[in-house]
């Protein structure tokens, strides 16, 4: 994979999401919590219950379950051209929010509902991407 092309696609680090991206480098998956206490991902400008702008970032458990996945065969992104076909997973964090991600070393047999845990793929000195692994019992 052409890492430079992937880096160009990443969400730019801004004041609104810096805590999240610093968390990925520190090995934490951080969620934003507004004054209602509802966790949110990715960053949003206000709390969806109160519309308050105050928020703090807290480390989530890193635990999630596999809601579903697809195997992408169609070429859309130059950065992923040599990865085809590749897996994209839709997972629900233990704290509630859903996110798109991928699985590292997925087992041959996947099933919806599988327990997952976050890992971080450090793709450059200053960027890491959260991915998930299936928790083996």
């Amino acid at each position: 994979m052409d890492t430079q092309k992937l880096i160009a696609m990443l969400p730019p680090v801004t004041d609104a999401n810096r805590d999240f991206w610093e968390g990925t480098l520190a090995g934490e998956f951080r969620l934003q919590h507004g004054d209602s206490g509802l966790p949110r991902f990715p960053e949003a400008p206000v709390d969806p219950v109160t519309l308050g702008e105050d928020a703090e970032w807290r480390a989530a458990s890193g635990r999630a379950t596999l809601w579903s996945w697809v195997v992408m065969h169609q070429h859309y992104f130059p950065a992923f051209a040599d990865k085809l076909p590749y897996l994209v997973a839709f997972v629900q964090l233990e704290e509630g929010p859903f996110l798109m991600t991928t699985l590292v070393d997925p087992p041959e047999h996947l099933e919806c509902g599988m327990a997952l845990h976050v890992v971080f793929d450090k793709i450059s000195d200053d960027r890491a991407i959260p991915k998930f692994t299936v928790v083996t019992r």
């Binding site: 992937l6 696609m9 990443l10 969400p11 990715p42 809601w67 579903s68 996945w69 697809v70 195997v71 992408m72 065969h73 169609q74 859309y76 992104f77 950065a79 992923f80 990865k83 076909p85 590749y86 994209v88 839709f90 859903f98 996110l99 798109m100 991600t101 991928t102 099933e111 919806c112 509902g113 991407i129």
Partner: protein, 378 residues
């Protein structure tokens, strides 16, 4: 408060999608495609352009459209974005505006030059604050988000591979009887199963076509419609509900929003799901048909994949679906073509694909804006 006026669709127009598709290198203008459809719809209604006092555009902008179509000063003018959910929304807005007397004759005009401009419906990620978070894993394209739902649906209800084949095959069967359809060749279950994956579990034949075309609808009051030449098609009820999140993937397959819309559209029209003579279901990707059938009470929850057998959904079956060929075979006009087909079926103008004795049709779109209308021939 005065009684609400009733509303009818009185004019439909659409381009010859198949003919447009044959020239692969054409560079078509979306406004020209919309204009062509508007001309046909006005002729169909027997109305003059000067009588149009409301213009709603989709995928093309109202300002340029009003100018080039020569409708620069209607009482009502606005545009809706070029997403498939908006065809149902446009009709709802038109109905409300006519009901309340803000306009008398509304033209809804849609132009789509997606093929000319080489639309891919995937690979862009800068238009939303959150899509970059998906793109960094290679996630993109509405079809992949629907594939995500369908894998989960298969898991939840024990659905085997290949269960979508009847939906794809039925669309091609119907398109074979539609002179303007793009994909008129029949496909077999074997061809379906052997077609390549786009986003596994969805295959090529589960996907809508990308093609050029235009569609226009003319709506007016039912009173006015009765003075026009063709059978009025009354909008007996219409309803919507948003079901939005960061993702096109809905974790209940749009079920709760669909149930709410279904309840209102059936109560509002006085008809139930069993009363429909045909269904025109928004089918950007084939799983959406299953989600729609369940959400709107046509099939039991979790069983639409068994319910939607080829026998049942064929033109001469118990509940014909997407009789013009839908988005995977007729044309990807983002639900607009489905409206045209509903009107033509009710008028008895569908030729070789006519459903016998068709008086009541339902449009359904299960998407981040769930919409449905019940259309009744007067």
């Amino acid at each position: 408060m005065p009684e609400k006026r009733q509303v009818a669709i009185v004019g439909v127009g659409q381009t010859d999608f198949g003919a447009l598709y044959t020239n692969k290198d054409a560079q078509r203008d979306a406004y020209a495609l919309g204009a062509q459809a508007l001309r046909l719809a006005l002729d169909d209604a027997g109305l003059r352009k000067e009588e149009v006092d409301g213009l709603l555009t989709a995928r093309i902008h109202y300002e340029h459209a009003g100018h080039v179509l020569g409708i620069p000063g209607p009482r009502v003018i606005n545009a809706l974005e070029g997403s498939g959910r908006m065809s149902g929304v446009a009709v709802q807005h038109a109905v409300s505006l006519i009901e309340t007397g803000q306009a008398d004759v509304i033209a809804c005009v849609y132009g789509n030059n997606g093929r000319s401009v080489k639309m891919t419906y995937g690979g862009a990620y800068t238009g939303s604050p959150t899509t970059r978070y998906d793109a960094m894993y290679g996630m993109t394209s509405p079809g992949a988000y629907v594939a995500m739902m369908y894998r989960r649906y298969m898991h939840d209800y024990g659905v085997p591979d290949g269960a979508l084949a009847p939906i794809a095959i039925n669309n091609r069967c119907n398109a074979a009887h539609n002179d303007v359809a793009v994909m008129r060749d029949q496909i077999s279950e074997e061809m379906y199963r052997e077609s390549r994956f786009i986003a596994d579990p969805l295959r090529l034949y589960d996907y809508c076509i990308i093609n050029d075309g235009g569609v226009a609808l003319i709506l007016t009051t039912l009173d006015r419609a009765r003075d026009l030449a063709k059978r009025p098609v009354r909008v007996a009820a219409t309803a919507a509900r948003g079901s939005v999140s960061n993702y096109y993937t809905s974790t209940d397959f749009f079920y709760s929003a669909s149930q709410d819309v279904a309840q209102r559209v059936y109560a509002g029209s006085g008809y139930g799901p069993q009363d429909m003579d045909c269904l025109q279901i928004y089918d950007n990707f084939t799983p959406t048909v299953l989600f729609s059938l369940e959400g709107f009470g046509h099939a039991p929850r979790g069983e639409a994949w068994k319910w939607a057998s080829l026998d049942r959904i064929a033109r001469d079956g118990e509940m014909p679906i997407n009789t013009a060929g839908g988005h995977t075979a007729e044309s990807y006009m983002q639900g607009w073509g489905h409206h045209v087909e509903a009107v033509r079926q009710i008028r008895g103008e569908a030729g070789a694909r006519q459903v016998s004795d068709c008086n009541i049709a339902q449009y359904i779109c299960a998407s981040p804006i769930v919409t449905s209308h019940i259309l009744v021939g007067e």
